[in-house]
Structures are given as C-alpha cells and as structure tokens.
Symmetry: C4
Subunit: 202 residues, 4 copies
C-alpha cells in the first residue's frame, strides 16, 4: 500500500475543506460598513475553523511520519477522520449565521469531539498495524493535551443548554483548545529525533 | 505516458467529489434541534456516498498498482469513470433532499451502476494495454463481488417503482453493497504479494 | 524553476474546473421523471465540457513532456490558459440552463476559441524558451487539427446569430471538435518515441 | 518536517482559491447580450484577483526554493498567508457585484494589504529558521517593490472614502500593483543562480 498516495488524497481533501469554508462568507446584498459588521460572527467562526483544520493537517502530517506501512485499517480510519473533518464547513456556517445560537454551537462541539475521537482511532490503527511502532505508543502514552481537549469538547457540547453564558463558555473553550494545539506536537518530533534513522528518511 | 500524473489528477478529482458533497448540507434557516432532525436524510445519503467514493478511491489505488504503461485507452476509460463518479454529489443531494423519493433513488442506483460499468471498462482497458498483465486478469477472473454488486444495482434501480417498500429495499441494497466493498480488494493484493518484484516497486 | 510544481498546480486547477461544473446540476425542486428530462440540456453541456477539459488536461500533459526548463513566459502563458479554461463552468451552466440560447452558445464558442488561442501561445512560449526544442516545433508545424478547430470555433461563435438552425450548427461543431481531439495527440508521442532519451526520462 | 507536503498543501489551497472565484460568476437569468455586459464588473474583478493569486502562487514557489528546513513558525506563517489569500474570492465577488462600491473596494485593498503583510511575515520566519539563509535576507534587503505595494494598498484602502474618483484611484492602484508583480521575482532567482549548488537541487 502506497503511503504517499494516501497523504496526497488527505492533503487534497483537507485543502478543499479549509478553502470551501470561505464560501459560507456570502456576498452581502448591500455595500455599507454595517454589512462587514454584520459578517463578524461568520468571519469569527471561519477563523476558528481555519485554525482547527490547519491544526489537523499539521498533526496528520506529523502522524504520517511515523507510519511505515499502510494497512486497510489505517486507510479506513483515515477516511473516517476525513469524514468528520468534512463536516466543519457545515457547522462553521451554521454557528456563524445563527450568531452562535445554542444548537449550532453544540453541534460544532460535537463535530470537534468526533474529529478528536477519529484521530485517536487513527493513532490506534497505526500502532496496531505496526507493533514495533512503540515510538508512537510512547509518545502518545500519557496524552494530557488530548484528554483535556476531549473534556473541553464535552463541556462545549453541554454548556449551550444553560442559556447565553453557556454559549460563551462553549465558544471560549473551543477557541482555547484550538490555541492550545497551535503549538505543534513536539512529542512525536522529539521521539523521532531520538532515533536518527527515521527522521532522516523524510 | 506518465502514470503518476494520471494518479494525481484522479486523486484531485476524487478528493473534490468527496468534499463538495458536503455543500449539499445547506445551512439551516433556523437553529433548533428539529433542524438537525430534518437534516437526517441528507446526512444519511452523504454518509453512504462518502463510503462509495472512498471505496472507489481505494479500489482505484489498488488497480493502478498493477498498471505499468498508461495507454490512450486507459486514460479515457479513467476519465469516463471519473465522469460517472462526479455525478455522485448530484444524486446524493437529490436523494437526500427529496427524503428518498422513488425517482431520485432510482437515479442514484443508475449512477452507482454506471460507475461499476465504467470501472469494469477501465479494468479491461488495463488488461488490453498489457497482455502480460495476467495478474489482473487472474485476480478479477471470477468476479463474484462485482457481479453481485451489478445485480444489486439493477434491483435498486427497479425497486423504487413498486412503492415505498421498494424504496427501502433499494436503500438497503445500496448500503449493503457499500459495506461489502469496505473490505479492500484482497484479490489484487494477494496476487501482487505472490510475485514479490511488483509490490516492492511501490 | 520547478516543472513538477507547475504541473501539480495545473492538475489541481484542472481537477477543480472539471469537478465544480457538476455544481451547475442543481438539485431539482420536485422528484418526478420530468425533472430528469428537464435536466438534459445541463447534462448535455456538462458532458461536452467534461470532454473539453479532459482533452486539455491530456494535451497539457503531453505538452509538458517536451518541456525541460520553465521560464517566466511559460509560467504566465500557462496561467493564461488556466484562466480561459476556468470560464468553462460558467459558459457550461449558462448554455445548459438557457436551453442553448444564441448568446450563451456564442459565448461558449468564444471561451473554446480563447482556450485554443491560449494553448497556441503556450506552445510558442515553450518553443521560444528552448530553441533546441525543434521536436515540438516539428510536431506542431503543420497543425491541421488546430487550424480546423479554430475555424470551427469561429463558425460556432457566429452561427447562433442566424436563428435556431445556426444554434444547432454551433452545437454540432463544438461537439465535433471535442470528438476530433479525443484521439490523443500522437504527433508529440511519435516524435518523442523517435528520440528514446527524452521519453525514458518520464 | 517535510517541505514537499507543505508545498503540496499550499498548491492545493491556491488552486482551489483561484478556481472557486469563478463561482462568483453566477449564471445569468436571461440570455441576451446585455447579461454579458452587466457581468463586466464581476469579470473584471475576477481577472484582477486571478492575477493576484497567480502572482502569489508564483512568488510562493520562488520563496520555497530557498527553504531547506520547515520549522513550526514557517508552517503557521504559511497557513496565515493562506488564510488571507482565501478571503480573495469573498472580496472579489463583493467588489464586482456592488459595481465597485466604496466599502467593498476598501475591503479588497485591506485583504491585499494583509496578504502582503502575511507574505513578509513568512519571509521573516524563513530567515529566522535558517540564519545561514543570508541569500534571502540579501535578496529582499532593500525591498522597493514590496514597500511600493504596501503604500499603494494603504492609499487603495483610504481613497474610496473620498467619493467616486477615489474608487477609480483605488482600482487603478490595485491593478497597477498586480501588473508590477507580473514580472517574476528575479531577485531570488539571481541570488540562487550565483550559488550553483542550491539551484541544482531543484
């Protein structure tokens, strides 16, 4: 199985996801400043989602560096992750256009949660396909950042049902998680660096 | 003729097909839970189509591993396959938005059938271009899964004309075929594995 | 200058052009057979445009095989070609939705003409950048097919102004040119084959 | 970190941005010549934006030739640039559909300015990641063209507030900057040519 073609396909899908989100920024009817002001919720949700997809692209890229053999399981786990990521344009547009109403915010949190779950499944599929890949197993062993994110997503899904302050909590949590992941995953880089051979191949 | 550029172009087209389908999930007007509930037929048809395009990408990838020389015939057979696959977003959106009405379901089945036919034509074009490619000829000689799929598609096209139960039969058959193909095509992998040289090139 | 990145970018743009045309096939409001029948002009113009873009992708690919050095001139001539090709989705949708009215048909012919002109400019830029590329100069020296196409496009632009029969002439000519080019450009292949060194690099 | 995958992702995003802008050319309702005439502002803004994105693709390509190591900083600076470029389809559609009204023109200038700023940040991130990259530092040391562009963008943002003549000044400036950059960045090519080793790698 050809790893580079799976990477190329994933890159293509991620590039399209990150770009078609901008189609949610519909051309305003009028041409006054208030049109731009009215656009801010859609713009804000676009910025956050751009960060999320950018982070997943970055993490995906790092993850693939540790893969030596693409099994059927990895392939389908990867498509499963792309499926949930492909729902970002939808929840982004809905959250923005509804001016961050409770249900769209909760759905946004749900999609973010399912992406995190799908990513974890992909990591497990990679470890299972290559038992010698203790690198990845080590690197992601005690996954504080991952667990924190999942906890934050769960709160972000539930909070909007407790009125307007809950929506704000939800938005802040989703933004905080994105910012937390802006720092690239040094865990894998560190372990890769320790064994020179693996990194020199790339 | 350059095989890698044909692969890259096909990957690009497949990545776009699988991703623009999500544009059929239009931003709901309101922001209540019932909007999400109302969305389920579009979501369901999206999931099934995502599976179909994912399966074709996977099969296409396996198929290309056996190609050593891209002839004009292979190139046009490939574009023909991409043409029918490109109709998936249309029938997906229509089937979902019509809440699985008879005519859209029948059209969906027809597009699925034509993709299978186009795939068969591509396989034949590959075998014809390389008479020494008895690998592929062997591997796809007795194509039970392929024949079952075509029979299922034919029933899925006809069934919706026999009222509501027919539509359900059609939907179940289309889903069953997708699930059946989730298991990657081990026939080609097995034959490739038998002759070590071919697989080590990839 | 990096030829493979120019190819990758062109492939990406062509893959998107060929795929977003399907977005012109809008989901019908109803779900009767007559909706499918009503769709035939859009479907027909989609098929023809799919052929055109497929042919350009194929020719572009052959052309790039003869390029050894990408100059600034080639790069901009290539972008110029992509610009005119990017107008195909627009004229395709318009010609189809207007049921092949005179003005949209004429515009379609104009875009087809400009693509041919842009392609010729690209060929000239490649020959100019590499004076030793007498291969390409030879191969395209007496370009009967190219001249026939341009003549056909000119008639296809003018004919719609002579009433309904003119529109049909225009449609038939545009289809005939597409079919004529379905046969890949053996001129370049033949010349490349004559000198083994060049083709073995690809 | 893998430079080619960052290039592939950027190429994908740029190819999508340049192509989805054509979706702003909506299929006209009627089919008379006056529909084409009515389209001219959208077409004009499409042509200018096509030039801008083409120029950024070209410059990005040249810039990447000087990169030997992709740091986290380069990766995020690159995503930041892609973010601002991804707003081109929005401002292009708005400027065109509003027939170049003051606010959309000013927003167009702002997006053009932010792209230039993001590009500068990317150049700085590349220089910082590789202190030995004095090539790039030299080549972009006295950046007359860059400074001129930023001055032009600032005027193009402010001018539309001084009535209709200001809008025309703004449009002319934005067009002039695009034409000025059509000439590829020979500064980097020249410095790369001076040291043969670097260019022979590509």
């Amino acid at each position: 199985m050809n790893k580079s073609r799976m990477e190329a396909f994933s890159d293509g899908v991620l590039a399209i996801i990150i770009t078609i989100m901008v189609l949610e920024l519909r051309t305003p009817e009028g041409h006054e400043w208030r049109e731009v002001v009215r656009l801010w919720p859609v713009l804000l949700s676009y910025v956050i989602s751009f960060l999320y997809v950018g982070i997943y692209w970055n993490s995906h890229h790092h993850l693939m560096l540790t893969v030596h053999r693409v099994s059927g399981g990895i392939l389908w786990a990867n498509l499963h992750l792309l499926f949930w990521l492909s729902l970002f344009p939808f929840v982004t547009g809905w959250a923005g256009e509804s001016h961050f109403a409770a249900v769209p915010m909760s759905c946004y949190g749900f999609v973010a949660l399912m992406c995190a779950v799908a990513y974890t499944i992909l990591v497990r599929a990679i470890i299972r396909a290559d038992v010698s890949n203790h690198l990845l197993a080590d690197a992601t062993g005690r996954d504080l950042k991952g667990n924190l994110s999942i906890a934050a997503y769960l709160v972000a899904i539930a909070a909007p049902f407790f009125g307007y302050p809950g929506v704000i909590v939800s938005g802040l949590l989703l933004t905080a998680v994105a910012l937390m992941w802006l720092i690239p995953d040094r865990r894998i880089e560190r372990v890769l660096a320790r064994e020179g051979g693996a990194s020199s191949k790339h």
